[in-house]
Amino acid sequence: MKNDNNFVIQGTVAYSNGKPGDSLYVEVWDKDLLIPDFLGRTITDNQGKFKIMFGESAYNKWLFDCLPDVFFKVYRGTSIVLDSRQTTYWNLRPGIHKIELIINQSHDVLCPSQWHGPIINEKLVEGFKSKLSSILFDLNGEDYSTEVDLLRIPFSGVPNLMDLTGEVLSGNPISERIFRETIHSLGYGAVPLKVAAAIWHSHQDNECTCAKKPKGQLLAIKKESKKQSWLGNTQIFDLNHMEAVMAATVAVAQNTEELIQLTGNLMLGLKGVDELNTLFSLTINGANPIDIESAFKTAVRTSAFYGFPPFDGFPPFDGFTPNDSWPLPGNEFIPWPPSFGWPFPEPGSSPGFDPNLPEFGIHELDPSLSTHFENCFIFNVIPGLHRLGIGFTGLIYGADNYVIESVEPDHACPREVITIEGTNFDGTTTVNFIDRTGGSISVAPSSVSATRITVVLPENAATGPVWLYIPVNVGLCLETYVVAKPGVRGNIIVGRPSITTFEVIGGECYDRDPSRNIVLRWNVQPPGAEIEITLDVNGTTHTLCSGCPNIGTLTQRANVVGVYTFHISVNNPFAEACGSASDTVVLEVKEVSPNFEIMGVELTQAIQVFDATNFEEPTNNSIDMIANMDTVLRVYFTVTSGHTFNFTGFLELNGTVYFPINTRGYVPAVVTPLRQETDHTLNFMIPAADANGLNQNARIHMYSTGDHCFRLVKTWDQPISWLERPALPLTIRRIRESHGLVVSPSAALVTVRSAFRKMPSPMTAISLHPGVHQIREGTTEDNFCTDGGYYQLALSIAYEHNDNEGYPPAGHSSSWLGLYSRIGCPVNGMMAWPSTSTCISENRPAVVAHEIMHTVGLGHTVTGIEECENVAQPVACHRLPGRSDGLLDQIPFDIDNNTTVTGASDLQSYRDYNNKWLSPELWVLGRDLMDTRY
């Protein structure tokens, strides 16, 4: 029979400042192979003194060497303030022992709410990989980037792991589930035997043999030394965070098997971390590249589970069948469930494993970072949390968890005071509810006692669990953390109904189509809510359903044109005082979409050959486009149905979108478009700055403004080539008559610019001479408009401009345009080719363009008024075939005024004072003359 209480410990606890450690819990432990044995517990008096007695039955687990190795843990409440494992009393003999325990008062507490983001420093890893590749390349001259990519970074891919950890340790039940799934999903799928055995061992009520007690002292020394080594280096992982993840893992495991499995996932990840840290440390500290290469291969082998030679990678774990005879040289891990060579013991049964297992059957992890955390897990994390009652009930002992026994009322409205009754409520700082998104809402209680809490239900609370946040500290291996005390949660139904979904599937686009249905769907909480859905069409209301389910859909035919208003009203019969909820969806059912076809596109920069009655006519668009000139595209279309609608669209060219230039942005439906009607075509303008390049494709998209669903978007690809042509060089020279009148520069530019709209030239070579030519009074210049003195004036201007290009010109590098503002001059302008200067006394674009085209070399278009010039112009005169009156048979487009032009006469005729445009023939001739001269 074993002797109880033959060991007596008498001791004192004091703080480092000398004050006695009163009212502290002191625990005595035997440092065992895997899990320490609890020997006894007491509380200190007001002088910090304590006394604990225990007998052999408390620790005698082994056959030999049965003296206990004692260490102490001291708690203030549930917070650990001292762990004396590093000063273990080895082989304590029976008798009275006096000891003194000193508590260091500087003890940081980490707050889980401060944690965010991933556990791994992703940027650090990228930089590390880059440097590693560089070192390996320098060593072997080979590109190792692929192999470096094989370095699987444990725990990567979980960007919010620390957020989840913080939520778990704060007691959020929703986050617990997500965290569990996350750790499971890490999928490492293997468990280090030592951890598995330790966990299993700690939860079996077994008699152990004392035959093979491990060398605990050695273990402690190893841990300390490794801690010294790796804590001194920069780490890829934040170790405190790793410890917190472990704590959260313990908190969420639902039973022993799951704890082992989750732990296995973590430990295997840690093994990879270990190798990575070694490699990382070597890399950033500039170690011998050969050592780096060796560490790299080890790390790849460890981390790349799918890896194969040349790095001797492990076989894939997915699909691996336990007990398969897989050759695993050096494998420290086994797939789950762990194959010990005997059936894995069920809870309550005898473990039946070989007692020699710890010595011979288990390959220990390298005594490094993973070793530290393995020990931390076994000796600190698991017992520390279970001491607080955190974790599954099979592990908890001696915890005073809170229990919510009732929530009154259990159906409540926001802002209503509710009362929570139960036990162990002391220390509650917040009461927690979930919101509609699954997140948590924390509210400070109005009053707290050990058994009763009153709190105001927050505005956004939703039906679901209610739990308390009672912060407690837990000291783990590296730090002390604040975690939520566990307990039995309550539930509450929040009375205000919520409509999470009420919508028409497919948007708001409907046309009157009896074959189509409007599909309405909704989702309302809570499930017991009373729901009614109505539909108003053009003022007539129908009830679509009453007493509808809280989640559902219904369909409605869109067979009437009009505004459809769906309305949902919801009432919660359990808490009517909370009010009701409602929502509305409005859509408009329109007439059936019209149908139409694009027939052709006219390209014009002023004049074009185009037959709007025959879009296949080969001469259509035969006038080439000139680069750097505004270009208008007229889109001809015909409507086959839906004639009451309007049409619009857009044009895409080289990634740029152009909108219509029609005044209203749209045009009416037409069946037979007329070319002379501006709005019978949808018109787009590509500005001069964009008008360049060969074989460009302008894609036109066209649709009806009444096509509510835009099912009929017609497209047309229009090829365009803009040919590079010389710009007509023109210098404007303003002339002041002897009485002082002079055209202002801005007025001169307006006139000339408008003249260029009628000419086949970009406006990129217009210059404005800053000076003003002063007519000499009393000379022929003064009377030039009545006496035909244009030539002298033109010569004067040319001479003054130093071009010396009077008549004939020495070199025709530019045209000079003298603008004269005299009113009532009977001669508007005069010019004779091949002079370079012309004088204009009418501020009219048509006159200016006419005279400029003379300087280019075009004579008159003869209609019976004009004379065919008896000078040797390249085009001395011209006659429009079949149009003796000079009227054009093509329709010019006035870009400045954004309109088609009707009834126009040829620019080089004397017909019509203002409405004159170049005929297609003269446009081409004039353009060709410019080609030869500039």
Partner: protein, 326 residues
């Protein structure tokens, strides 16, 4: 035939279809464009040199054209410009012009060239001062600028207090020139040619052709900014990308070309400037226009809303902008 020092008499004149005549200039020159010496049969105009015994020493029928004015009024008689060059014979004492058989001009030809005055040349600022002393009959004189490439230009010159004031800024950018003063009397000409003088540098000038100052630009309309660059005499200059920039409301445009596309996405007054730069520093604003971008119309708002529905993937920043600029 013997000529006097192989020179020509150059005639510049106007003659109408009815025979009205005005001599613009008649002088002696050792060179003459070949076109001036063209002779036509059955020409309206005949120029003759007459000897002391009234004998015709030489004659020329220059090519003349009577252009028609552009007018809706009644046709007016055409006026032709006469440019002719006839070799000067030693024996020639009279020059005569006949139009359709009628003598319309006759003048004597001196035996000797006129004596040149004591010509003094000086420059001040951008003006060359050619002093002719007491010889104040300015009608006898003609001022030219002979360039290094042989071209003879005619700068503007004003006569005052016995000197011609020649505006050199019209010759800006041509580097250097010799000032030529010719004195002509009875179709004989003496010439003074100065040493080369330095001409002013040309000055960059710019003109915004589009948009026009004070114009209204529709909201959301893509258009062009167009400008031209030239010197202070209107001579076009090359557009250098880093030298000239566009600025809209003080901000440099992303594209900087002679033709630059622009998209009006904000209603209100806009200031568009053409700016001369030197090493990214502003030298001067060459031209500036103020335009008004009109607020979006109701139709435009509807259009943008529709476009957004049809093609949501197309960026229609104008839609949001338009809603706030109604």
């Amino acid at each position: 035939m013997e000529t006097k020092d192989f020179s020509f008499i150059i005639l510049e004149a106007l003659v109408s279809e009815t025979g009205a005549f005005q001599l613009l200039r008649g002088y002696e020159s050792t060179t003459a464009p070949s076109a001036f010496r063209r002779s036509e049969k059955n020409g309206d105009l005949v120029i003759s040199l007459i000897g002391s015994n009234s004998e015709v020493l030489d004659s020329l029928m220059p090519e003349i054209k009577y252009p028609k004015g552009c007018t809706t009024a009644a046709t007016r008689p055409g006026t032709a410009l006469v440019n002719a060059a006839i070799p000067l014979h030693k024996q020639a004492s009279i020059i005569r012009m006949e139009h359709k058989g009628n003598i319309i001009f006759e003048s004597k030809i001196n035996d000797v060239k006129p004596a040149l005055p004591n010509v003094q040349l000086s420059t001040k600022d951008e003006v060359a001062i050619v002093s002719v002393g007491n010889d104040t009959n300015q009608e006898k004189f003609w001022i030219g600028a002979l360039l290094k490439d042989g071209r003879m230009l005619r700068p503007a010159a004003a006569f005052k207090n016995g000197a011609f004031y020649v505006a050199l800024n019209q010759l800006a950018g041509l580097v250097e020139a010799r000032i030529v003063l010719e004195k002509t009397q009875d179709f004989r000409t003496s010439q003074f040619t100065s040493e080369p003088i330095k001409l002013p540098a040309s000055e960059i000038t710019g003109l915004i052709v589009e948009p026009l100052n004070g114009s209204k630009w529709p909201f959301g309309c893509r258009g062009s900014l167009i400008a031209t660059i030239f010197d202070n005499n209107g001579k076009r200059m090359e557009w250098k990308k880093d030298q000239i920039i566009w600025r809209i409301n003080g901000e440099k445009t992303k594209i900087n070309k002679q033709l630059t596309p622009w998209f009006a996405d904000k209603a209100g007054q806009h200031t568009i400037q053409l700016v001369l730069m030197d090493n990214e520093k502003e030298v001067k604003i060459l031209d500036e226009v103020e335009i008004k971008v009109l607020p979006p119309s109701v139709e435009q708002l509807e259009y943008f809303k529709l476009l957004k529905q049809v093609r949501p993937e197309i960026e229609v920043p104008l839609y949001e902008a338009a809603k706030t600029q109604k």
